[in-house]
Amino acid sequence: MEFIHHPFIQPMLLPLAGGLLCFLIPRAWSRVCGWLAVLISAATCYLVWPLFLAAPQILDLAPAISLKIDKLSGFILLLTAIFAFLISLYSVGYIRQPEQQKPYFTYFLWTLAAAVGVLLANELILLLCFWGFLGLTLYLLIALNGPQASSAAKKTFIIIGASDSIFILGIAFFGLLTGSTRMDGPAVPLNHPHTYIALAAFIVAAFAKAGVMPFHSWVPDCGEKALLPVSAFLPASLDKFLGIYLLLRTAKDLFVLTTAVNLVLLLAGASTVLLAVMLALVQHDLKRLLSYHAVSQVGYMVLGIGTGLPIGMAGSLFHMLNNAVYKSALFLCAGAVESQTQTADMDKLGGLAKAMPLTFITCLVASLSIAGIPPLNGFVSKWMVYQGLIESGSTFYGSWIIWLAVAILGSALTLASFVKVLHAVFLTKAADTVRSKTIREVGWRQTLPMLVLSLACLLFGMFAYRLPLAGFIYPALRQEVVYPGIWWAGPAAFLMGLGIMMGFIFSLLAGKGKTRIAPTYIGGETLAGEVQVTGVDFYHTYQSLSLLKRFYRLAESKWFDVYDAASKIIFYFVELLRSLHTGRLPLYLIWVLCGLVLLLFLLLH
């Protein structure tokens, strides 16, 4: 049993045991679970730190149990542990109902253990076990939110479960090709139809986990219906880490990709960026809107990997980190807003900037960051992805200009979408139901993770090259990254800050005494006091443009949802088969005789 003390095993075993402890704790003590989870995720951070620093190494425990750490998995491992710590801290404040606490923290810790397992596995079948188990904990976590979440939980698990089944097929083919399912063998060149099946299966699994179109449709449902920390932890950060991790492993270590495959990745990435952000623009529910952005952002990561260039991959990895930072921050803000106002419907919200200043600042920083405004972190990673796209110019038959245009357009639409969010939630007047309540800022257990995350947005943007890139990203890729374009984050941030300061000073000096407060007006007409200008309808006109109208109609009838399309086809066959089973005995006897005759024919032929 000495393997228990091994540094590879401990970070897996600790959350697993912690989860078991939470599972077994008497119900009366369920309040303890939260702090236990915080403690254990902190300890996990401590345990994975040496793994992050360690040199790449392999540990073979048994014939089919092999673990490995390298810089890529070490980096994502550390991220996972840190995010688990932040979210668990937030959850202690958020999950208050005793009957939810026990199962929530149990599944939370098991999720963490399984994620560590996925990242450390050096054997595809071992990885698959943890991968499948993650689907299960996700289902359980979503289902925790009571009957309203039951459909979302079912849909999520069906999509994830289907992709896991396909993953099994991929692993079987991979094993057939290479004779083993170890992940540290030489990369497989794509020279046989089987390699394409295996590769496609791996990509499907990664896409479904990360929420890339067309396997994205569980993300918005989950974001809207699940408990908030669940959406902040799983679809917004952890599932992205793991999906992108698998995609990077597939693209870099397991297979040698061809141009055609890269083009498919680029296409998937670009369509995800654009379609998801267009769907995000018209949402009314804050959490659903954020989830669509979670889908859209993962498109950039796939674009980066699709370029096949070091800078693109570095950009993709950096974007993954950034996305987790600002997207969790945004989800946590949404949670703070929801817990204080009891609604996430943007038609009803408004004017919270004064009541919840810390939440507003976090949300502002994170929104600007996701929209790619310099000098925040979202800008740097997007800029790296763009450079990758431009650099790849010659290899993809000149198609780079399309991908670049789509990526930039997506970024602009993201900004538009967050202007709407900031306006609707924090600035405009609230609906009467919300206005009548006294709203206060949330407690420190919730604001602390939010502030840490928004600070990270700023730091990772301003010191991008020194802090995250040099520290994590370059070692993780083991490749030299060459920058065709130049971006001096520090000086640019300094200059921008200076500009804002100067504008502020000018307005103070020049505008003194000349400002006046005007009543709210639209189109030159002053509005009556009770009319509320929500940001929700900002893009209403745009939705009714003829070409886009069609797109939205298709989206409404769930055309982009594989889940719905597949279930329609399947139920056609189900009804067909059911109509054959009439319940009449003679018919069944005829089947038996037909079967016998067929068998006789086959055998005697």
Binding site: S165, W591, G595
Partner: protein, 486 residues
């Protein structure tokens, strides 16, 4: 060990007739005696693990006397029959109170168990036939046990199709006897290997295949199962779906095709076709059902398809996958039927659209049914995941890619239909008319918890299988090596 072999048949048959004698005066006798017998049998079955033996009844030598034979495959089946039997009979203590006559119930139950044990141990074809009939007739009566309209109709359909199956089997066996002059399986196998195949022999083979495919409910011979299995009392449904279709269906089919006739590529194709048809048709029919037990029953067809698919590959990995899945299926499918029984016991209905909110109302049933659903859907770390994984990998290794694709598709559809059960019965808000009639009694809860733990524990068999031979390996070897003449 050899000396203990006949007790697997003698004890339950004896008890089946002893229980009615004493329980006129002792009301507790059926429950206590029935469970005691099953406990003894389950304990004995665990001892058979890894044993090979032949028992000559009355010390009469092979062609004349009756032989019982124990090998790896028989041992695997014995363990699952008697363990599931023990769980079901313990569950029955509380569950069968709703029905009138416990004494008849336990008698029939033990006769069925005796029949199954006999089938698994029989070394000659005629005794095999006798025991198949014994188990079948007991099961017809048990399906009709409720004596309501639905049960009687189901039992009638089951009876007609089941008798057709045994009729075919009997004709097949007599043809074999005529052709080879022996009924002992080892001798028949030896003589068949030396005689060229004739039309009569192939005719016999077709009849036997049809007969036992009917018993194992492979599509298109499946029509009786969705009536018979839901109509029986829950512990009997668990026995029927969990072990009966395997012991008197799949087991016999595998024995005959692998050990007696020898598997030809043509027979492999036949098995593959039957397996894939059952898997796909079964799961498609299952997902459209709203009656909980009926949905589970269709899944039995589909899961048996997996087993047949694995067998049809005839590779070591395929056989291991198939037999492991057979063992696992007996555990999780019985668990699911016991869950359905608990739901029906507590709420009076098993119609999914009328249920809801049971996660809160029946926590033990909800948790164990989640475990059962995840096992059958093949989600790690539960046992169904491993056997399904092995079967899919075996399909790919044997270069049957379409079969692997079908297995993947069915696995995903299985997940979808069990999530439907979870959603409608357990997660959603309870319907207004739904009333909790009673709590789930201890014996039912304990049986379900035991099986749920087994779902988790049997998946550890894989871990031990990495370094040591495990439960499944001797069984798979028994199929590969054929019958040893002892």
């Amino acid at each position: 060990m050899a000396i203990w072999i006949p007790y697997f048949i003698a004890i339950p048959i004896g008890a089946a007739f002893f229980i009615p004698l004493v329980s006129r005066h002792l009301r507790w006798a059926p429950d206590v005696l029935g469970n005691l017998v099953m406990l003894v049998l389950a304990g004995l079955s665990l001892l058979t693990f890894g044993q090979n033996a032949v028992y000559h009844m009355g010390a009469w030598q092979t062609p004349i006397g009756i032989d019982l034979r124990l090998d790896g495959l028989a041992s695997l089946l014995l363990i699952s029959i008697n363990l599931i039997g023990l769980t079901s009979s313990f569950y029955s203590v509380a569950y069968m109170r709703q029905y009138t006559s416990k004494l008849r119930y336990y008698s029939l139950f033990l006769l069925m168990v005796a029949g199954m044990n006999g089938v698994v141990l029989a070394a000659d074809l005629f005794n095999l036939y006798i025991f198949v009939e014994l188990a079948s007739i007991a099961s017809y009566a048990l399906v009709a046990f409720g004596c309501e309209h639905e049960e009687l109709e189901a039992a009638f359909k089951y009876l007609i199709l089941g008798s057709l199956a045994t009729l075919f089997a009997l004709i097949g066996i007599s043809l074999i006897y005529g052709l080879t002059g022996s009924l002992n399986m080892a001798q028949v196998a030896g003589r068949l290997a030396s005689t060229p195949s004739s039309t009569a022999l192939l005719f016999a083979l077709a009849l036997l295949c049809t007969g036992f495919a009917l018993k194992s409910a492979l599509v298109p011979f499946h029509a009786w199962l969705p009536y018979a299995h839901p109509s029986a009392p829950a512990p009997i449904s668990a026995m029927l779906s969990g072990v009966l279709i395997k012991a008197i269906g799949i087991y016999v089919l595998a024995r005959l095709l692998f050990n007696v006739f020898g598997l030809t590529p043509l027979l492999q194709t036949v098995l593959q076709t039957l397996g894939v048809l059952s898997m796909v048709v079964g799961v498609l029919l299952a997902i459209g059902q709203w009656d909980m037990k009926r949905l589970f029953a269709y899944h039995s067809i589909s899961q048996i398809g997996y087993v047949v698919l694995g067998l049809s590959l005839a590779t070591p990995l395929g056989l291991i996958g198939a037999l492991y899945h057979l063992f696992n299926h007996s555990i999780f499918k019985s668990l699911l039927f016991l869950n359905a029984g608990a739901v029906e016991y507590a709420t009076g209905t098993r119609e999914l659209r009328k249920l809801g909110g049971l996660r809160r109302l029946l926590p033990v049933t909800a948790t164990t049914s989640l475990v059962g659903s995840l096992s059958i859907a093949g989600i790690p770390p539960f046992n169904g995941f491993w056997s399904k994984l092995i079967i899919i990998i075996a399909c790919v290794q044997a270069e049957h890619y379409w079969l692997a694709g079908a297995a993947v598709f069915v696995s995903f559809m299985t997940l979808a239909s069990f999530l439907k059960v979870q959603k409608y019965a357990f997660l959603e808000t309870a319907k207004e008319k739904l009333q909790l009639l009673s709590k789930v009694p201890f014996s039912m809860g304990a049986a379900m918890v035991f099986l749920a733990l087994m779902c988790l524990l049997t998946s550890l068999l894989v871990l031990t299988g990495l370094t040591h031979p495990f439960l499944i390996t001797p069984a798979a070897e028994a199929l590969q090596k054929g019958i040893l003449v002892m």
